[in-house]
């Protein structure tokens, strides 16, 4: 793995996972009035794990597989506080709060990435 991969990989992959979550929450808000729509959310741990190509692989016949379930895409249905009469489980307040949180987390990851790039740039300039 090269220097750039090591420095940027975690945050770059986390950015992908975070943008996926923002999208799923946007879907929930868009369907706030759709009958029978079930709100979904992302299990960040699972999605992050799926985006990483080389996390703990077995390289020897004596190695044991980690008990990691890669079969799911990390999508789960939200358990609502109250179900609407039309079968819709989107609770707008919850979704808005989560959307705001997800946006903040995304920006945090962008900041981390920016710092990493700044550090690399400094190293390259040799100042």
């Amino acid at each position: 793995m090269s220097l750039f991969d090591t420095a940027l990989s975690t945050h770059a992959q986390s950015l992908t996972a975070r943008s996926q979550r923002v999208e799923v929450l946007a879907q929930n808000i868009a369907n706030a009035d759709t009958p029978n729509f079930k709100a979904r959310d992302v299990d960040f741990k699972q999605v992050f794990r799926n985006t990483q190509e080389d996390v703990m692989k077995t390289t020897h016949s004596q190695h044991m597989e980690l008990p990691v379930d890669t079969s799911t895409d990390g999508m789960m249905y939200r358990i609502p506080f109250n179900v609407a009469f039309d079968g819709n489980t989107v609770e707008l307040n919850v979704e808005q709060a989560q959307y705001g949180k997800a946006a903040a987390e995304y920006q945090a990851t962008v900041n981390f990435l920016q710092d990493e790039i700044g550090g690399l740039r400094k190293a390259l300039r040799g100042e």
Partner: protein, 140 residues
């Protein structure tokens, strides 16, 4: 990229809420109309929403997870008739048929559509900000 899709999803929701708002406007405009027969009387309209799922798309998946208006249905509430022989639309017994629009529930529907529209505008705005921040990474 996932952030791109939000514009499609949010846009589809804005479109659906606009259709809903249009039906409300039409209902309110026609609330006072009278007709000569039961069949001709104005019936309130309601937009029916449905999520856009993956298998309904033909190749383009930028609206996946959004919302669409599948149909516009008539309000099944029975039509009221009123005895008004002086009305030019009255039938031979002197009855006119009123619309079944309930102004109160239309106002509520309008406010709900309004709030949902604002919510989705906010979602799109936030997604746009996140995208701009991401573009600014290279500037640091």
């Amino acid at each position: 990229m996932a952030l791109d899709n939000i514009f499609g999803i949010g846009g589809s929701a804005l479109n659906a809420q606009t259709v809903r708002m249009n039906t409300v406007a039409s209902n309110l405009a026609n609330a006072g109309t009278v007709a000569a027969t039961d069949a001709d009387a104005f019936r309130g309209k309601r937009a029916v929403f449905k999520a856009i799922l993956k298998d309904q798309l033909n190749g383009q998946d930028n609206n996946k997870g959004g919302v669409q208006v599948t149909s516009i249905t008539d309000d099944p509430t029975p039509i009221k008739k009123m005895h008004d022989p002086g009305n030019p639309s009255a039938d031979k017994d002197g009855y006119v048929y009123l619309s079944n629009v309930n102004e109160m529930s239309e106002m509520v529907e309008m406010m709900a559509a309004n709030r949902s529209y604002q919510n989705n505008v906010e979602v799109i705005n936030t997604a746009r900000q996140l995208m701009m921040r991401t573009l600014d990474i290279i500037k640091s």
